[in-house]
Chain length 335, copies 2
Amino acid sequence: MSIKSKNILLGHGSGGKLTNDLINDIFIKKLSNKILSTLEDSAVIKNNKTRIAMTTDSYVVDPIFFPGGDIGRLCVCGTVNDISVSGATICGISLAVIIEEGLDISILERIVESIKKTSKEAGVGIVTGDTKVVEKGKVDKIFINTAGVGFFDKDVDFSYKNVKKGDVIIINGEVGSHGLAVLNERNNLGLCGDIKSDAAPLNGLISSIREIKGIRCMKDLTRGGLLTAINEISEFAGVGAVIDEKNVPVSRSVSSASDVLGLDPFYIANEGKIVVVVDRKKADEVLSTMRRHKYGKKASVIGSFTSDKAVMIRTSIGSTRLAPMASGEQLPRIC
Amino acid sequence: MSIKSKNILLGHGSGGKLTNDLINDIFIKKLSNKILSTLEDSAVIKNNKTRIAMTTDSYVVDPIFFPGGDIGRLCVCGTVNDISVSGATICGISLAVIIEEGLDISILERIVESIKKTSKEAGVGIVTGDTKVVEKGKVDKIFINTAGVGFFDKDVDFSYKNVKKGDVIIINGEVGSHGLAVLNERNNLGLCGDIKSDAAPLNGLISSIREIKGIRCMKDLTRGGLLTAINEISEFAGVGAVIDEKNVPVSRSVSSASDVLGLDPFYIANEGKIVVVVDRKKADEVLSTMRRHKYGKKASVIGSFTSDKAVMIRTSIGSTRLAPMASGEQLPRIC
């Protein structure tokens, strides 16, 4: 058992190595089945004629409103993106809220208004819901869970296991802004520059490329950031990766703020970023198609998978260094 | 707007009238669509060849372990039952946990063990999940959300709107034990007798009857109890109902405990009870089939729908009285 602590630590929710240990040592160990054990962003369920995708996420972000978004926008985008990276078309979202007694109803209304706007942008309906209220002090304002389902209506088969050495890694834009925007707001850090959450529903961007042959898989970058996601794919596919530091888009304000805070933007959470892994021969087609979409304008090739077992960074001065999965807790409650 | 308060009250989570007002005035008003607005236990989503059912529920029960069950058993049963009463066959459950920093990992293990056992009993897998951890004091121990999806693989079409006057109401057993078991444990009431939660996955019972022609709809009885459920069906179908008090199964211990506490068992939560609404001509067949199943041994005909608009109780002495939806908050955090 790799869990050393007898108690749950904040790091068990970080999305990094401690989370993986907890999931493997408790949830997978007891609940293992063929679908759950794939551990991809969405589960794929089949009956004799149909394949559907299913995903779930809880949102405990603090504060609930922050530059570029709020818990309502987040809870729609996260679920839309998890379903979409599987290649399925999202067809319904469930919305379950747990509210603290005494919450100002106008706050709930603002959140639901944001859910409305975001689900309209994504073109998907909230199809079912649940409302619970608990005594004051037993939950922090409001927590939201959304689950999503989608139909596989296109001929696609994305899986981390499809990834081979030589495959190219493309990202749709700049990393690190979501986590910093939440941190800045929560701790009144007063970071300058335009640091806003990138929370966005990416189903439109994804559907513009998903039928290009040669795409192996996609993954959205949330807790743990870019490098945790690359490590997860590497681990499943049994390959290594090299990421070219200078090719990863990072805005100037995120870059300076990260320097000041001693954070690495490659490990900071995003809510509107995906990586697409594609056969080298098709990389140009994917890249140019992505750049035509508003959420893909800064799409870039950032690296490739290799026959090594490790994930490496090629730094801007040409040296390489190891880039393992984040191990503990970096920024809590950012989604 | 029927919400009078500016702040969220515990009663907004009761499952009764205040919950309905909140759902209608905020969620339905802003998020309305054809599927959400049916407000049945499961949403029905279609693509060109397949219909699927989707549902969600959060579990905030306090305490997390109680006689007859725990939050783990509850979170599987609730979702299995919501999907099953729609007529669909459950094919996957998502599991999202929000854990308080510092929780003893052995407690999490007990809960996951219970989820394993219950999902095995129900014959359904946990297919995807999410784990969040929040700072000590920001959530009460552990909250769980499960969502479920099911395929409509049988030729059934259940909806509250199918209900007509004259249709018979059948229940699968005794009411009120779940809410009392939780209350007893939480408040150390020391109630005597065998008061245990009835939490049970009813998909087996339901699949034994669901292809009998003449079934209009089914509904599981959770927060708000039997009478809140009957009121909801009545409201949707535009009919009234009469429930025969003496025919509703209530155990002696629940009956005495309710008397002592001044609670009405017909409004107390259940987690292993359903009502089945059926054409009078088919009532005997449904009843005898249910009684052959371990979760239907005490199945009884408890009343019927009428051309009135109101839900009424025919008391054991022959008089009738109104039985409206529970209005405020009766027992908080029982599921």
